[in-house]
């Protein structure tokens, strides 16, 4: 059984459903990637798993526990952390304060986790007294991921972490994400850059119009001619 699973999720913001019987899951220490064309409901599926969208049908379970009815805040202590696509740092707070706020719910000593984040993203240590709003786009993404890691999550959910960053920064960021996964944290992410994302993915989900179209390992999807033709540009 998967560590985190959103099963047969159906729901939307208003009267019309965006998701139709959509299932997304991730195993412990693995990377799952959701790809698909624009408007396929990728981000919506992510938000549904984090409880930011009311589901009409379906369930979300983490480690076997049903959390479908929990509010997003209540999912944080369950070991979930979410990095939104935009506005994902506290711009007027320093880098260090951003990390501290990530660990807001923790009552134990956080210096160890902070050290790990600084080791993962050395540039953040350098800029730790600087306001997060003054950093470059790629550095901000690092702060955002770092903030999420501070809760010591079991699952890290990333909504298009590479949106708007240069290809070099993107590769760098993916390397770091692999590193995070190796430490035993499950990663669930939505990606616009489908090819690169599937390359690092243990599992890939191709969504179309809010429903699962293809589900397989990342490598298998990359090799599938149908997927290549329709979603990866040949």
């Amino acid at each position: 059984m998967s560590f985190l699973i959103g099963e047969n999720m159906t729901g939307g913001y208003g009267a019309a459903d965006i998701l139709h019987e959509c299932t997304v899951a991730v195993e412990k220490g693995e990377i799952a990637v959701i790809v698909g064309p624009n408007g396929a409901g990728k981000s919506t599926a992510m938000k549904a798993i984090f409880g930011m969208l009311k589901l009409r049908r379906g369930a979300v379970r983490i480690d076997g526990e049903d959390i479908t009815r929990l509010s997003p805040q209540a999912r944080v202590p369950k070991g979930m952390a979410f990095v939104p696509q935009t506005n994902n740092v506290f711009t007027s707070l320093s880098v260090e304060e951003n990390l501290e706020m990530g660990a807001y719910l923790r009552r134990d000593d956080i210096s160890g986790t902070m050290e790990q984040v600084y080791e993962l993203f050395p540039i953040l240590r350098e800029k730790r007294r600087q306001a997060a709003g003054e950093l470059s786009g790629g550095q901000r993404q690092q702060v955002a991921v770092g903030r999420a890691l501070m809760t010591q999550p079991k699952v890290l959910m990333l909504d298009e972490p590479t949106a708007g960053v240069s290809p070099i920064v993107m590769d760098e960021l993916f390397d770091r994400i692999i590193e995070v996964a190796r430490s035993g944290i499950s990663i669930l992410m939505v990606e616009q850059n489908a090819r690169q994302a599937l390359e690092i993915a243990d599992k890939g989900y191709v969504l179309v119009q809010g429903a699962n179209r293809y589900t397989d390992t990342g490598q298998a999807l990359l090799a599938d001619p149908d997927v290549r033709k329709s979603f990866l540009g040949g």
Binding site: P72, F82, N87, F90, L93, M101, Y104, T151
Partner: protein, 336 residues
């Protein structure tokens, strides 16, 4: 000697009063700006919150005085502060529970919250007048002056005297302590940082597990403290009259906006800018200029730029200028 006299006269009539008034405005504006930053609306009930808190402090002061308690040279009202802050905090938490929380849960547009604050303002205004009446109340006791004009002249041998009222000195000292404590809280404590985080990015604060209701409650408690201290200092320095406190809304808001709504540092700077402009423009400069200029050039008029009744115009004009040329305020508030 003439120059010294001019400086003393300037200090006596402009600098000292403006510093005291500016500190009072800054404390008031800090309350407005915190509410704006956390609850995201302009609280028009703030003037009346100050009035309510001051009234409670006055009642406690009278009670203490009747018991024969006094602080010697300092005003007894200082002893009444903690109780008054506690009562006002309960009042604000109560209004939040009864009024604002509903609109927050609804995610109502800020303007609805502003209109709700009109309602709270009217109710508080009525309550204050019901309890203590609309008239003037003086509740300052203890030593009136730190230094009187006469003593100062005797000490220095100058023609001009410099009088510093106890309440003026007290205002400055209290304001410095309160502001230092507030900034320490906001920048150094976990709760304070969570307030700044919430003000900066509400959604992300929720994702980090920050409890919005707790942040809001703490904000109201701090605002109660700021409002009561500002109100009591103003009342000690001048006098307490419910309507005057309502009218303080304008300079207080002007201070907060000029500094940048939502920015605490801006609120303080804004308070002093408004106070110095108000006092400076409504002061009759004849005396100061008389010392500085040669006899032949000494002005015959009062050289008062504006009659004191127009002091609102001063805050207003500064406000409009800032809004026109730098709409987010001098310190980049979070105005949307």
């Amino acid at each position: 000697m003439e120059a010294l006299n001019a400086i003393v006269a300037l200090s006596n009539f402009v600098l000292v009063p403006a510093i005291a008034y500016g500190s009072q405005l800054a404390l008031g504006a800090l309350g407005v700006t915190l509410i704006y930053g956390i609850l995201r609306f302009s609280n028009f009930a703030h003037g009346d919150t100050m009035a309510f808190g001051t009234m409670v402090a006055i009642l406690f002061t009278w009670w203490l005085q009747s018991m024969g308690v006094s602080l010697g040279p300092l005003p007894t009202a200082l002893l009444a502060l903690p109780a008054a802050i506690a009562v006002t905090a309960l009042l604000l938490l109560g209004t939040d529970r009864l009024v604002y929380r509903f609109y927050r849960a609804q995610k109502a547009v800020p303007v609805i919250m502003v209109i709700a604050s009109f309602g709270v303002m009217l109710v508080l205004n009525g309550v204050v007048r019901l309890i203590i009446g609309p008239g003037d109340q003086r509740f300052a006791d203890g030593e009136r002056f730190i230094i009187t004009a006469l003593d100062f002249r005797r000490m220095t041998g100058l023609d001009e005297g410099l009088a510093i009222k106890t309440t003026q000195g007290l205002t400055l000292v209290t304001a410095v302590i309160v502001v230092a404590a507030l900034f320490w809280f906001l920048n150094r404590t976990r709760t304070g940082k969570s307030m700044r985080a919430f003000s900066d990015n509400e959604d992300l604060a929720l994702l980090s597990g920050i409890n919005p209701e707790r942040v809001v409650a703490i904000t109201w408690i701090i605002v109660a403290g700021l409002a009561v201290i500002a109100g009591v200092l103003y009342g000690l320095d001048k006098s307490f009259k419910p309507f005057t406190y309502f009218q303080l809304l304008l300079p207080v808001f002007a201070s907060a906006i000029v500094g940048g709504l939502g920015n605490p540092l801006g609120a303080i700077v804004g308070g002093y800018i408004i106070a110095f402009s108000e006092v400076g423009l409504t002061y009759a400069w004849k005396k100061v200029l008389g010392y500085l200029m040669p006899e032949s050039l000494a002005p015959d008029g009062l050289v008062q730029l504006l009659s004191t009744d127009y002091k609102f115009a001063v805050s207003f004009v500064i406000l409009v200028l800032v809004l026109l040329f730098r709409p987010t305020g001098l310190f980049r508030g979070k105005a949307v």
